[in-house]
Symmetry: D2
Subunit: 259 residues, 4 copies
C-alpha cells in the first residue's frame, strides 16, 4: 500500500535569504518531498505556510498518513487552529516527523509539554550522528554513524520529556553532544524528532539523511484504528453492573460535562 | 524543613451550587489546605481564581514548593499568562498535584500534550482505589485499597501519555476501571494526578484521601536545583574543541536565534 | 507475507489433570495455535517442553517471528540454555507473547528483571478486560471491554517494571483489578503480556481472546533488522578521530574484554 | 539522618596488576568509600568478593541504604545466591550505583534483562561527560560538563532498556559517544549507572567524580517503605465483593500456587 505523506514547509528563508534560495531554489519542502518520492511506497506532496488554511486543511490531514514539519523563522505565525488540527490528527494516529529547528515549532511544544530548548552554534562544523540501536527500522541502511561535513550545532540540554527511544546521538566538531533522533508516542501518533537540517547547508540532498527520512516515514505510519477521543457520559443504565444513583449531584441526566 | 504548598481552587461551584456550598462552606481549596496543614512539615495556603493575577502571581509561585490544582467549571477562564507562569515553575522543579476534574485544566493539558479526556458518570457510586505499589511513598499508611462510599465515576480510556508510574487503579461499583493515581516528570517538576474529589461529595474530609495528598506533597517536593532553561548561542571561541567557522550562515555573530 | 509463529506449551496439566485434559484434549498449545491459524497471514506451529531441546532448538527460533509462551507447573524445568536462546532471539527482534501464568516463567522474569508476582484466586469468577486505548492495534475488533464468565483472578500489585503501554486493565467479580495487557520493548523484541488463560476454563476457545492473540502476533512482528549485539573492541586506528594511546593499560592490543 | 552505604569491590586487579595496585594500594573499593565519607551525611563501608558470603550477607544488606558495585574480571565468580540477595534488596527499595565495567555484572544484567553490551577502547583518551539536565540532583555542583584527561572509551550501542532519564552523555577524544549516566527504577529501588571508572586511571580520586557519587547516593536513598512482594492467594471470603466459587479448579482451598 502507498503511504500518503505531506511535507509542511515554512518557506520563509527560501524567499528572503540568498544562501537558502540558492541551495533550495524550489524550497526545502520540495527537496524533502523529492527525497521521499524516490521510494515507490511513498507518495509525498509539499505544502507551505502561505497556502490556504496555512497548507493544512482538514481534508488534507485526513488524507495524510505521515506529516513532516520544517519551520524556523515563522513559528509564531502558525495559528491556534492549525496547531489544534495537527495535534488532533497526531493523537488519532497520524505520524509526525519534526525536523531540525521545528524543535521550537508550536506543534512540537504542544505535544511535548516542555520548552524544547537547546544550545546552538552556526559554524558549519562537522556533525556525526551515532546509531544507538542498529536494529531499529529508522536506521536501516546506515553504518555505525552518519556524518555531515557542515551542520549547525544543536547541543544538550535538550528540554524535552524522556523519549520512548533514543535513535541517534550527535557529536559535533566543537565537542558538544545532542540527542538528535528521538521517538515518542502521543495518543496513537508516532513522533520522530530528527536533528539535522539547517537551511544554509544542502543537508536534505544527502542520501543518508534521505534514507533516515524514508525509514522514519515507514516507522511512523499509522497502525490500529483512527480513534477520536471525547469525554462521554455513561448513564447508570449503561454501566456493566447495576448502579442505583445515590447522593446529590451537579449534573441533570444527559447533561454534558464541563470543559 | 517546611514544605511551602499553595492550593489553587477555582471556587465557582462553592458560590453557585447549594450542595457544594453546604459541604464546603469555606471552599474546597480551604478544606484541602486544612487537611495538608494537619502535617507540621507542611505549610499550605489557599488561593482562588478570583484573587489578583488569578491567585498565582510570580512571587507566590517562586515561594511555592508544591502546587495543588482543583478546577472544573471555569478551566476556560484561566489566562494564558497564568498557565505560562505555572508551566515554567513546574519545569523549574515545583511539584504539581492535579486533582479530579483538573484532568481538563489548561495546565494539565499543556503539560501532557494530549486531550486528557475520560469517561464519567455522576451516580454517587462506590469507588475503590487499589494500591499498585505498596512500597511507594505516596501510598504509605494505606491498606491494599482505599474505599470511598460515594464518588463520581471516571473511566478509561484516560487519554494521557504513558505515566512514569501507576500509583492507583480504581474499580467503580458500576464496573468501570480508571488509572486514578499517575506520576510524571516534566522538566524537573514532579506531577501527580489523583482522581477522586467530586465537589458534591465530602471527599477532601476523608482521612485516607488527606493522607494521600500529604504523601503526594512530600513526594513532589523539589530536589536538585531550580534550572531555568533557555536557548543559548555558544560562539565558536567557547566550544570545548577549536572550531573554525566554515560555510555560509544565517545569523550574524552574537545574534539571537528564532523562536 | 506470512508471519511464522511458534506456540510453546508446558503440556503438563493436560497429562495430569482430568479437567484440563477434558477441555484441551490436544493440549492448550494446539488450541492456541489453531486459533492463530484461523488467520491466513499467520502460520503457527505448536511445540512443548517434552520435545527435543525443550521444543526450542536454535533453528526453530531462527525461523520464528513471534513466540507465544504458556507455562504454569513446570517453570523450574526449563533449562538455562533454553532461556538463554529465547532471550537472545527476543533481543534480536523476535516478538514474544507471554500468557497468563507465564508471568512466572523464567524467560519473562529474565526479561523483566523483577519478581513478576501478583495476587490470585481460583474461583471461576467473571473477568472484564477494559480497553485502555481503543486505537491500539492489539484491541482492534473489540468493544470497550472483553468479558470472560469464568476466569482466575490475578490482582495487583503486579511486580513488573513500568510498561511502555497498558493495553488492558481487568476488573474481577471479587473486586480486584489487574493490568492484564502490557507491552514492553527489550532490545528489538516486542513483548506483550496477556493475563487470561487459566487451564481449567476454555478461555483459548473464546473468539475475542483469539482476536487479541492474532492482533498481538501482528503487533509483535519483527521490524528493522536482526541485530546481534556483542562487545567489540575499537582499536585506536579505527576511531573516527585520531587517537594516540596515552597512559597505562590493562589489555594488550587485540585482547578480548572481560565478561 | 545518616545514609548507610556499602561499596562492593571485586578486588582482583588490585592484587594482580601492578598499575592498578600502584594507583589503588588500598583497593578501589576503599578509595570510593573514602570519597563518599567526605560527606558527613554518608557512612560508607567497603566489602569485597573475597569476604565471607562474598561480602554481602543478608544482615549487611538489611543495614544498607545504597550499594555501589564495581567489578570487571570476576563477574562470573559472583554466586547466584549473592545476585539473588542483592536483587531482592533492590526491589525492596535499596539504592544501587553500578560503576563502569559493572555494566557486565550479573546483578546489572539481572535487573536490566538485556545483554548490557557496549563498544570499548583502552587508549587513555579524554572523556567529556555532558550534563543532560542541569537541575537534576545527581549533577549538582558540576558545570555543563565533567572532563577526564584519561579514560577508557565506552561507546554506543549500549544494550540496555530505555532509561527513566539520561543524566550524562559522554563524548570521547576518538569521536564515540556513550550514555554514561542512566537512571532506572526497579521495584522500589533506584538504580544509577555511571560510566567512568577504569582501574588503570585514578578516576575515583577526581573531585567531580566523587561529587557525582555523593549526589548519586543521596538520589538513590530509599523512600516509602520496604515492601517484600510475594504471590498471595486471596480466598473468596476475603474478596471485597462476595464471590461464590464457580466452575472446576486446579488448587484445593489454601493450597500454594506454582512457581
Amino acid at each position: 500500500m502507498t503511504i500518503k505523506v505531506t511535507v509542511w514547509g515554512e518557506n520563509v528563508h527560501e524567499q528572503t535569504n540568498d544562501v537558502v534560495a540558492r541551495i533550495y531554489p524550489e524550497g526545502m519542502h520540495a527537496c524533502i518531498a523529492d527525497g521521499l518520492n524516490e521510494d515507490p511506497q511513498i507518495e509525498a506532496r509539499a505544502v507551505t505556510l502561505q497556502d490556504p488554511e496555512q497548507g493544512l486543511p482538514e481534508a488534507l490531514l485526513d488524507d495524510t498518513d505521515v506529516l513532516l514539519w520544517w519551520g524556523h523563522a515563522a513559528h509564531g505565525d502558525v495559528h491556534d487552529e492549525t496547531v489544534d488540527r495537527v495535534q488532533a490528527r497526531v493523537l488519532q494516529g497520524m505520524g509526525l516527523l519534526v525536523l531540525h529547528s521545528a524543535h521550537y515549532s508550536r506543534i512540537f511544544k504542544r505535544l511535548m509539554g516542555t520548552t524544547c530548548s537547546l544550545k546552538w552554534r552556526e559554524a558549519g562544523e562537522r556533525e556525526r550522528l551515532w546509531v544507538i540501536n542498529p536494529g531499529h527500522p529508522i536506521v536501516q541502511g546506515l553504518g555505525s554513524y552518519l556524518e555531515l561535513p557542515h551542520s549547525e550545532m544543536y547541543g544538550e540540554p535538550f528540554a524535552v520529556p524522556n523519549p520512548d527511544e533514543v535513535i541517534f546521538i550527535s557529536a559535533f566538531e566543537g565537542g558538544e553532544v545532542f540527542r538528535s533522533g528521538l521517538t515518542y508516542k502521543r495518543g496513537n501518533g508516532k513522533i520522530f524528532y530528527f536533528g539535522p537540517g539547517h537551511e544554509t547547508y544542502p543537508i536534505y540532498y544527502d542520501d543518508q539523511v534521505r534514507r533516515v527520512l524514508k525509514n522514519g516515514v515507514k516507522w511512523a505510519c499509522p497502525e490500529g484504528s483512527r480513534w477520536i477521543d471525547n469525554c462521554p457520559n455513561v448513564p447508570p443504565e449503561q454501566a456493566p453492573n447495576p448502579v442505583e444513583v445515590k447522593g446529590e449531584g451537579l449534573h441533570k441526566p444527559g447533561e454534558e460535562g464541563f470543559r
